[in-house]
Assembly symmetry: C2
Homo-oligomer: 213 residues x 2
DNA sequence: AGCTACGGTTACCGCAGGTAACACTTTAGT
DNA sequence: ACTAAAGTGTTACCTGCGGTAACCGTAGCT
C-alpha cells in the first residue's frame, strides 16, 4: 500500500536527514561559522542539490541544526534550573552549564549565535526575521521559569521577560568575551556573574577619592 | 612644497572619506546590514574600486563606520555614566541613552552588532578576530568606569571586567528583543533592567505552590 | 611638448548560494 | 516481460558579491 511504502521512504529520508545533519555538524565544528554548502555536501559524500532538496535553503539547514543544539542545550539548562537546591545554587549551576557547553564546542555555538544572514533584495521584507533564535528561545525559556517560580508582584510577567532576555544576554556576552580572552577560570566567572545578579553592584561602596563627586 | 601639497591632498581625501562614510551610512540605514559595496558606491555616486582604495576591504569600511558610531555612542554613554547623580540614576540614564540610540537608528546598530563576518580559508587564522567590536569596546569601557569608581576589594579588576561585559550584554540583548517586540515603554524597560541589576532577583520571594521544592 | 600623479572607469576573477535539466536505479502496473 | 513512474544522484549552469587588474583622462610640473 501507499501508506507503508510512504512510511518506509520517510524513515529512510529521516535517516538520511540525520546523517546530513551530523555531517553538517562535523564540518561546522571544523570550519566554524560560514561553512559552505559545498563543504557540507562534500563531507556528507554527496552534492549540493541533495542538501537543498532536504532543507530548502541554507536557512533551513541552519534552522534544523540550530533546533537540534538548542533543544539539547535547553534541556540541560532546564535541568540545572529545576534542580532541588537554593536559588543561588541553581543560578550558578545554570550559568556553569551554559559556559561548559560553549567551552566544549565553541565553533558550533559561534555558528548558532552569529547567523551571518541578511541580504534579501526585494524591499518588502522585514529585517532580521529570525536573527539569533537561540538567544531568543533561551530568553523566553528563562522568562517562563522566572515567572513560574518567583513572586514579582503586579507586572511580574513583563518583568520576567525583560529579566529573561537580559540575563541570557549577560550570560552570552560574558561567555563570548571569556571564551576569547580566558581571563579566569569558569568557576570564577560563574561566581562573578552570580554576584552581579545578586546585587553586589548596588551594594559596593564608592572608591575613596572617586573623581567628579 | 611637498608638505603643503600633501596636506591639501590629505584634506581632500579626508573630505572624500567623510562623504563616502555618510553615503555608507545612508545606505546602511536604508538597506540594513548586508548592504553591498556596490550599493554603497552607487549611493556615493562612484564605483567600487574607489571604496576599496579608501578603506582597503569591506572590513575596513565596517571598521571606519563602526568607529564613528561607536565613538559617538560611547561619548554619550560616558556622559551619562559620569553625571553628578546617585549611582542608580546614573545607571538608568546610561541604559536609557543606549536604548534611545538603538531606537533612533535600529538598522545602523543592527549592522554594527551583527557584523556577519567569518570565513577565512587558511587554517592558521584565529576565529572571530574582530567580531562585534562595539560590544567589546562598550564592555571594556564600562569595566574601566566600574573599576575606577567602585571599591570591589581584591580581584576587583577582573570582577569589573566581567561585570562590564555582562552588563553590556544584558543591555544589548534586552534592547534587541525590546526593539523587535516593543512590549513596553523605554522607561519601563530601563526600570526593569535597573531593578535586575539592583538585586531584585535575589530579593524576590518564591511563588506560593512553586513546584519541585 | 612630454612626463608623472591622481581620480575614475570598465571588465574581469573566484566563490558562494541556488537551480534546471539530465541520468541511473528501483519499484509497480498491465 | 515491457513499460511507466518515482526517487536518488549528478553535471552544468545562473546570479550576485567581494575584490582586483588594467586602462583612461586630466591636472600640473619641467
Amino acid at each position: 500500500m501507499e501508506t507503508t511504502q510512504r512510511t518506509d521512504q520517510e524513515r529512510a529520508a529521516d535517516r538520511r536527514r540525520r546523517e546530513l545533519l551530523e555531517a553538517a555538524d562535523r564540518v561546522v565544528l571544523r570550519d566554524g561559522p560560514g561553512a559552505s554548502m559545498n563543504a557540507i555536501a562534500a563531507e556528507a559524500g554527496i552534492t549540493k542539490p541533495i542538501l537543498y532538496r532536504h532543507f530548502g535553503d541554507k536557512g533551513g539547514l541552519y534552522a534544523a541544526l540550530a533546533t537540534r543544539h538548542t533543544d539539547a542545550l535547553l534541556d540541560s539548562l532546564r535541568a540545572a534550573l529545576d534542580a532541588p537546591a537554593e536559588r543561588r545554587e541553581r543560578v550558578e549551576a545554570t550559568l556553569d552549564t551554559y559556559l561548559a557547553a560553549i567551552e566544549a564546542r565553541p565553533q558550533v555555538y559561534r555558528f548558532l549565535m552569529h547567523p551571518a544572514e541578511g541580504g534579501q533584495q526585494g524591499e518588502g521584507f522585514d529585517v532580521g526575521k529570525h536573527s539569533a533564535p537561540l538567544l531568543r528561545r533561551m530568553g523566553e525559556e528563562l522568562a517562563q521559569v522566572i515567572e513560574e517560580r518567583l513572586d514579582l508582584g503586579p507586572g511580574g510577567e513583563q518583568l520576567a521577560r525583560v529579566w529573561g532576555h537580559g540575563i541570557v544576554g549577560m550570560m552570552h556576552a560574558a561567555g563570548d568575551w571569556w571564551l576569547g580572552e580566558r581571563p579566569c577560570s569558569r568557576a570564577e566567572l560563574v561566581r562573578s556573574l552570580a554576584d552581579l545578579l545578586w546585587g553586589r553592584l548596588a551594594a559596593a561602596g564608592d572608591k575613596v577619592g572617586s573623581p567628579g563627586f
